[in-house]
């Protein structure tokens, strides 16, 4: 009861790791309980931008009470552009950790795909670090800016796709699976909706257990406003209709539960 709050996180460091992609370490209380696949709501210090920016947790350093986020600047005069200008010692208001996270225990003894596309790549890193099973990390990028690649290589077998074919398989993550004749019995994925739709179909055709992390516009980030819903097969116990809140029941869903 009233034991959580919007807190002032402190920027520990920030660097640009690819064109328009920034990596930031934050000192925040959220680090103590964070799990892979959860997100934080980041707020700007600009009073004209009221709503939170949901950003996935990319890495967790519990010992030092720090979280890493990796995010894309989406355009001029955006909140993410403001975040990209912050320097060590600056502050950023955050709430988190939020959402459910990836179910790690489901992978026990299995061969897994950890799939990330575009700005859905970052949460796959902490997942790769914490997942204890045979890991095939399949990540898709636009071009040769294959951010986080070195760290992925420390945590499993890495397969890369790029839209322009400059690195790895030309195309998307599904093309990379086909080209390398990969198979798995569990999938974890985060990325743009068309990619998740393709993965969901592939998983269902092959009877593979599959968890996907969804995105939607948010206003509260804590389950109160019903902005961020996705369609579900079954009636949800909370909403009493066929949809679930991505910020609360998600962002990670069993692929067969949701319609995307």
């Amino acid at each position: 009861m009233a034991d959580r709050k919007k807190e002032t996180a402190v920027v520990v460091s920030q660097e640009q790791i690819a064109t328009g992609i920034f990596s930031m370490w934050l000192r925040t209380e959220a680090a103590t309980t964070a799990k892979p696949g959860q997100f934080i709501s980041m707020y700007t210090n600009d009073g004209t931008k009221l709503l939170p920016r949901p950003i996935s947790i990319c890495e967790i350093d519990k010992a030092n009470g720090q979280l890493r986020v990796v995010y894309r600047v989406t355009g001029e005069n955006t909140g993410t552009e403001q975040f990209s200008k912050l320097k060590a010692g600056d502050t950023v208001p955050v709430i988190g950790p939020l959402g459910n996270g990836f179910p790690l225990e489901k992978a026990e003894g299995k061969k897994a795909f950890l799939m990330g596309g575009g700005i859905g790549v970052p949460p796959i890193l902490e997942l790769a670090k914490q997942l204890d099973c045979e890991k095939q990390i399949v990540v898709g990028y636009r071009d040769e800016h294959t951010f986080l690649r070195d760290q992925f290589e420390e945590n499993g077998a890495v397969y890369i796709s790029t839209e322009d074919g400059s690195v790895g398989t030309k195309g998307n993550v599904m093309n990379a699976i086909a080209e390398n004749h990969l198979t798995a019995d569990i999938i974890y994925a985060c990325g743009p909706t068309p990619m998740l739709r393709a993965i969901k179909n592939y998983a269902e055709e092959n009877g593979i257990e599959c968890y996907i992390s969804l995105e939607e516009r948010m206003a509260c980030g804590i389950g109160a406003c019903l902005a961020c819903v996705c369609k579900t097969k079954e009636k949800d116990h909370h909403t009493n209709v066929n949809n679930k809140r991505i910020c609360k029941e998600g962002p990670v869903f069993l692929s067969t539960e949701v319609e995307i």
Binding site: D3, A219, C220, A224, C225, N243, K248
Partner: protein, 300 residues
């Protein structure tokens, strides 16, 4: 010094509630807010049956505000009575249930169902499109408002607050119609209908095309409307629209509101209501007010 206010015979411990739809049923904010500290909790609009709501995206950010077209998604009155009212009963705060419907019969069904529930007040959202009137909102036609209010009053066992839409030519006409129909109080303002176009995707930012604008950007409009309505009716007003600080809340009270509701600001800071309660108290101490009622409508 006394922070309590009396709204249509119901004593709130302070003049601060939350705006419907921005606070869920209270449960979602329980981690961030001591609900016992609020004068009242106003719940998300509830209908006679579950509503699925609109397609997504349902929200967009605007300069100093936001817009939403949630489409009044709600779990229906049965689950609401079973789950959400018992939850709120655990707290020392008043319970205001916001009611929505597409047709008068739908409102009546909810109001009748609530008659024997342990709630303190009900707030009728008349910004909903009326299926029987070419989808014009009930709240845009004074005759409809008076009739609907009178019929609801016959069925209601708790005081009835009519929640007014600002999307009208003259809000005082609508407020007077609600008063004539027997409303115990009015609340205002609901969201202002707006539109936002995403120039990069060349599409509407919100799937519903139009969406309701709320937040600090609409505050001056809300203050003006509260002032006008305060000078037009003799029933208490719950003022809302862009309140994000104690100063904003006090402004609303000085304009004529007997109590205030905080909406969009909850999304920016989930604990903002507690800060507003404390801020009003400090203001009263600083300027020597002994009761909230001394401040209501003080600026003429």
């Amino acid at each position: 010094m006394n922070m309590s206010v009396n709204i249509a015979g119901v004593e709130w411990k302070n003049p601060v509630t939350v705006a419907s739809g921005t606070f869920g049923s209270g449960a979602e904010f329980d981690e961030f807010v001591d609900l016992n500290k609020l004068g009242a909790v106003t719940t998300k609009g509830v209908a006679n049956v579950p509503w699925t709501g609109n397609p997504t995206p349902r929200v967009a950010e605007t300069y100093g505000g936001m817009m939403n077209a949630i489409g009044l998604q709600n779990p229906g009155i049965d689950l609401f009575c079973k789950r959400d009212i018992p939850f709120l009963k655990k707290y020392d705060t008043k319970i205001i249930v916001n009611v929505c419907g597409h047709a008068p019969e739908e409102y009546f069904a909810v109001v009748e169902r609530l008659a024997n529930e342990p709630i303190d007040m009900m707030e009728i959202n008349i910004s909903c499109p009326n299926v029987n009137a070419g989808f014009l909102a009930f709240g845009q036609d004074p005759k409809q408002v008076e009739k609907l209010t009178a019929e609801i009053k016959k069925l209601a066992k708790q005081p009835v607050i009519m929640k007014l839409t600002p999307n009208v030519t003259d809000i005082t006409e609508i407020a007077k119609a609600a008063e004539a129909g027997g409303a115990d109080a009015v609340s205002l303002i609901n969201t202002l209908t707006g539109m936002k176009i995403d120039v990069n995707r060349r599409t509407f930012a919100v799937a519903n095309k139009t969406a309701g604008v709320s937040g600090p950007a609409i505050h001056p409009i809300a203050v003006r409307m509260v002032y006008q309505v305060a000078n037009a009716v003799n029933i208490p007003i719950i003022g809302m629209g862009g309140i994000a600080s104690a100063e904003d809340a006090i402004e609303m009270i000085l304009a004529g509101a007997s109590a205030v509701a905080v909406g969009t600001a909850n999304f920016h800071n989930p604990a903002v209501t507690m800060e507003i309660v404390d801020g009003i108290e400090s203001y009263m101490k600083k300027f020597g007010f002994n009761s909230v009622s001394e401040m209501v409508g003080l600026v003429k």
